[in-house]
Subunit: 169 residues, 2 copies
């Protein structure tokens, strides 16, 4: 298998967020996508070790934002390379809240989605959450941040928990 072939798939970058019992967290993913139109359902795949995964499972809801090209490594690193178990990822940054109270970052995001969890698929190292969209809003007119832009322009790395992580990348 030529791993370079895997890098030819196209992704955006998103922060998926969850909250339950006073706890809240969010993490960067490249796996959000719309999977049906009637009703509008999104799927998102998250590493089982992530605190956000645990909170989505407990709350049966998730929110997400599509990052835009204003996002820099500092903002991505806050959600992508630190755990929310002992750190409030939302402190000191601009946030919104969905109808259920899940916080989400608004400073470098072009769209926001809020979903009710409909199904969970066990993929081994990761869980895929499938949710029906209950809220969706534009947050900015900036172009969406693609994974290709993140890698080539922002010079970002891929964290170990990502589906697309490979040694020596």
């Amino acid at each position: 298998m030529d791993e370079q072939a895997l890098y030819q798939m196209t992704y955006g970058l998103y922060v998926v967020c969850a909250a339950h019992g006073g706890e809240k967290s969010g993490c960067v993913v490249n796996t959000l996508q719309q999977v049906t139109a009637q009703p509008v359902k999104l799927a998102v795949t998250v590493n089982k070790e992530n605190y956000t995964t645990e909170l989505i499972g407990r709350a049966k809801r998730f929110a997400a934002v599509a990052l835009d090209q204003r996002a820099d490594l500092l903002q991505i690193g806050r959600f992508g390379f630190r755990t929310g178990r002992d750190f409030d990822k939302f402190e000191g940054i601009e946030t919104g809240k969905d109808q259920s109270g899940i916080p989400y970052p608004t400073g470098c995001a072009c769209a926001f989605y809020s979903c009710r969890l409909m199904d969970t698929v066990d993929l081994g190292t990761h869980l895929m959450f499938i949710g029906e969209v209950e809220q969706a809003e534009r947050l900015s007119e900036e172009p969406p941040l693609t994974y290709a832009y993140y890698r080539t322009v922002i010079k970002g790395k891929t964290p170990k928990n990502a589906p697309s992580y490979h040694e020596g990348q």
Copy 2:
């Protein structure tokens, strides 16, 4: 719900292919993605009415290519807007075959994947197929075709069976 928010998600364009009992077909999707790294698994979501969906279910395998920017409306239309039930989509174009004999188009594709079906998720109008990658190869050095490029540069439409289809789009 602001549908414009849904268009802020980033996708590539792919042809997913299947063959069973002498029948073969393929269709254009924007939903292929890598969902785990160990082992490497891909997920792809396809409308239940598509002939390719039926053949994947029967053969328990699928192949896919990532389209590159050489793809034009004629090539995309062959796989995206016609059914393979009464038309050989592979006739007269350059093709390869995966190890199981599934044909795939090579003329405007930058990567190829062959997967063994591991799981099927019922999403209502669509099925999501999750497969473990058994073959993956680069086919060209051309940049991958993104859905944004297809819509804005090639001026392509979205077929009715796509997860991202909306009336009046």
